[in-house]
């Protein structure tokens, strides 16, 4: 029986490698896709383009603008008035505009009340808020410094020193690459086994199996195992080639531990795929159900928005996303470098949620066919 299973698994693998188009897409997902995700996006404020309307044009006003430096900000030039500013904002040419009123220098030096305006493009969701916050901070530091004629460092005030753990430079691409890898794994684990099974259904091969000595459950298990092997192999390849090799993301913890957690996650989550296969009758249905399940799993894992900022009900629902345990566990291993004594709870979470999912998926599938 074991022998038969192995033969079936090998048959599935050969079949998978024969479909050149699919093979190409899967390879791309584990390599090029991660690279593009890493390059494309940075949720922290980077190169935020801004213009200045400076009605003062004094030494101090120019000095203030010089404090807005790269890589956070990018100064694009001076504008003559609000009219052009409005057009530039409309065309999304900048994230914000700083306005400095007349007599700015005079008022600072004579210690009378003054103001600086920040106009933010409210349609750039994540950057708008950060732009306003960072700019306000620079301006208030500057005005403190100038109105007391001394270095701020010597005033009796509190200086905030920050230290960012696990990722000193707050490189977004580390986070983006790894979460993209998790999304890729989850997409494939939902769709590959299900589509392999549906294909047999659609082609009518299931009827053929009924008259052969191979049990249908063996046949299904072989498919699921074969797809799991492909995904785990893909993860190993992309971790070595892309994450460690090309993007040079520091891998603090044990690679074996990460592979183990990945295998556990992949195997247990394939239960969801079996469930999809039991419900669906054709590929159109598989694709729709996959996306319907994929999005909540991704969202509830906390890979888009931090769990603690979600609405209360969603926070509780996050415990139902198997990806949550895998994601937190993997981050602890990869970036924090924690060992098994710390991450065992993520293994336990993946296991406890995954096993019922797997059993139910297998049960439904067996009953349906």
């Amino acid at each position: 029986m074991i022998y038969r299973l192995i033969v079936l698994i090998i048959k599935e693998l050969i079949q998978f490698f024969r479909d050149k188009g699919l093979l190409l897409f899967v390879l791309y997902l584990f390599t090029g896709d991660l690279y593009i995700a890493a390059r494309g996006i940075d949720l922290t404020l980077k190169n935020a383009k801004f213009y200045v309307i400076d009605e003062d044009m004094s030494y101090l006003s120019r000095e203030l603008i010089s404090k807005f430096q790269k890589p956070t900000f990018e100064f694009m030039g001076y504008l003559s008035g609000l009219k052009t500013a409005e057009r530039y904002m409309f065309e999304d040419k900048c994230v914000g505009i700083i306005t400095i009123p007349k007599d700015f220098e005079k008022k600072i030096l004579s210690k009378s009340d003054n103001y600086v305006g920040i106009i933010v493009n409210g349609t750039e969701s994540s950057s708008s808020y950060l732009f306003a916050g960072y700019a306000a901070n620079i301006i208030s530091k500057f005005s403190l410094e100038k109105s007391f004629h001394i270095n701020v460092k010597k005033l009796p005030i509190v200086n905030l020193q920050q230290k960012v753990l696990y990722n000193q430079n707050m490189d977004s691409h580390i986070f983006m690459t790894i979460t993209e890898l998790f999304s890729v794994i989850t997409l494939l684990i939902l769709i590959l086994p299900a589509s392999a099974i549906i294909k047999e259904k659609e082609n009518g091969n299931i009827e053929m199996m009924l008259v052969s000595p191979v049990k249908i459950s063996e046949f299904m298990i072989a498919k699921v195992i074969a797809m799991n092997v492909i995904i785990v192999l893909g993860v190993i390849i992309s971790t070595i080639l892309i994450i460690k090799g090309l993007l040079k993301i520091p891998f603090q913890g044990s690679f074996i531990l990460f592979t183990l957690l990945t295998t556990l996650y992949v195997f247990t989550s394939s239960g969801i795929s079996m469930f999809i296969a039991s419900v669906a009758n054709n590929m159109l249905q598989v694709s729709q159900i996959t996306i319907m399940l994929l999005l909540p799993i991704l969202y509830l894992s906390g890979s888009w928005a931090p769990v603690e900022s979600m609405p209360y009900i969603f926070q509780k629902l996050t415990y139902l996303s198997p990806l949550k345990y895998y994601l937190e566990g993997s981050f602890s291993i990869i970036l924090k470098g924690l060992d098994f004594t710390y991450v065992y709870k993520y293994f336990l979470g993946t296991f406890l949620l995954g096993v019922p999912v797997f059993v139910f998926g297998a049960y439904f599938l067996k009953r349906k066919i």
Partner: protein, 371 residues
């Protein structure tokens, strides 16, 4: 071109959908689901960050500072105090806390003797966006604390008043952008997947041979299929539009008619892309995986939905411009938030139309009526 032949293909697909109970529900459920998850989920406001305090000074002033952190319950959630730095960092390791605030033992003494003092925050850097927002909150709290100290100190203190205004989104409701932006994602991924499946399905079943031997021309075949997907997703467009207005309270400043035109054009682009993909692949699973890959990345990452296109680095800036999503997102922002500018509207519409012409001609060119 024969309208009758196109409508035959169209009717055939409608009949098939009527027979397929699950798909019939799913094609309408999927965009609604995307709207729910992204509309509620893409909360980019970082709030309620759990943090702990290590106060080595435990003086009047240090308590005043820690109190201003604890009081800020919208952004921070105070979990407790710790006795040592290691204990605090271990809590971050375990994922129970995201920040540790350390106040040194000479805090009050230094301030009272007119010297500056350093306080330190340790941030969990796993999620860099959360860390950077948290740092900016802390900076604001520390700045306010400093302002209070100084105003107590000197008589003629100056405060530079910072007047911040948010244009196009006066209350800075991120939902206005994230919810209306869902149209960008839902009207791209869904249509592309469904239309890519429609053609490949016939290839995989072998029923495509009926098409090969029939008198129907390939243009008629492709347009019939496209028309079918379009009619499903135009209904979806109306549902999603109503959801943004009534469920998410997004203001709408443009013209509904013009916005509907631009959405139909966008749907033409995404369905043509799906058909083009289907001419390259042989199996349905490849079509689904392929169109998901090709659509998700540009729609979410390179459209300006999450980060502004203007601040992307060269390479990414270029990529953003060669996908249609960026232009449709411009139209969305214009119609919902910014108000209509006719010249900008025409510019973005023309670019979308060019995308459509290129994609549909490529698919007609690529589609072979023989093998």
């Amino acid at each position: 071109m024969n309208i009758k032949k196109i409508s035959t293909i169209y009717k055939k697909e409608i009949k098939e959908l009527k027979r397929d109970k699950i798909s019939r529900i799913m094609v309408f459920m999927m965009p609604i689901m995307i709207m729910f998850v992204f509309g509620y989920g893409m909360a980019l406001d970082v709030e309620k960050i759990p943090f702990v305090i290590l106060d080595e000074d435990n003086s009047y002033l240090s308590r005043e500072l820690t109190y201003s952190f604890i009081q800020n319950s919208r952004y921070y959630k105070f979990i407790g105090t710790v006795k040592s730095q290691n204990e605090g960092i271990e809590l971050i390791d375990k994922g129970e806390s995201r920040m540790l605030l350390v106040i040194p033992s000479n805090f009050e003494k230094r301030l009272k003797s007119n010297l500056p003092v350093d306080i330190q925050i340790f941030e969990d850097g796993i999620f860099p966006y959360r860390a950077s927002v948290s740092i900016s909150y802390s900076t604001i709290i520390a700045n306010n604390f400093n302002l209070n100290l100084i105003t107590k100190h000197s008589q003629n203190s100056v405060i530079t008043d910072i007047r911040t205004r948010y244009w196009f989104n006066e209350d800075m409701r991120q939902k206005n952008v994230t919810a209306s932006g869902v149209l960008l994602i839902a009207l791209f991924i869904g249509p592309a997947i469904v239309s890519s499946l429609l053609v490949v399905k016939e290839k995989e079943y072998g029923s495509i041979y009926n098409i090969y031997t029939s008198s129907i021309r390939k243009t008629e075949f492709i347009l019939g299929k496209q028309l079918f997907v379009m009619s499903i997703f135009i209904i979806n467009y109306f549902i999603l539009y109503l959801m943004t207005i009534f469920l998410f309270d997004v203001p709408f400043k443009g013209s509904f008619l013009l916005f509907t035109f631009s959405s139909i054009l966008y749907l033409l682009v995404s369905t043509s892309l799906g058909i083009l993909i289907s001419t390259f692949v042989k199996t349905q699973v490849t079509a689904v995986v392929g169109s998901a890959i090709i659509c998700i990345i540009p729609a979410i990452l390179y459209s300006g939905y999450i980060t502004p296109v203007s601040s992307m680095a060269n390479e990414a800036y270029f990529i953003a411009h060669i996908f249609p999503n960026y232009y449709y997102f411009n139209l969305i922002k214009m119609c919902y938030l910014k108000g209509l500018s006719l010249s900008e509207y025409i510019k973005n519409m023309t670019i979308l139309a060019i995308f459509y012409i290129i994609l549909i001609s490529l698919s007609i060119f690529r589609f072979r009526k023989y093998e």
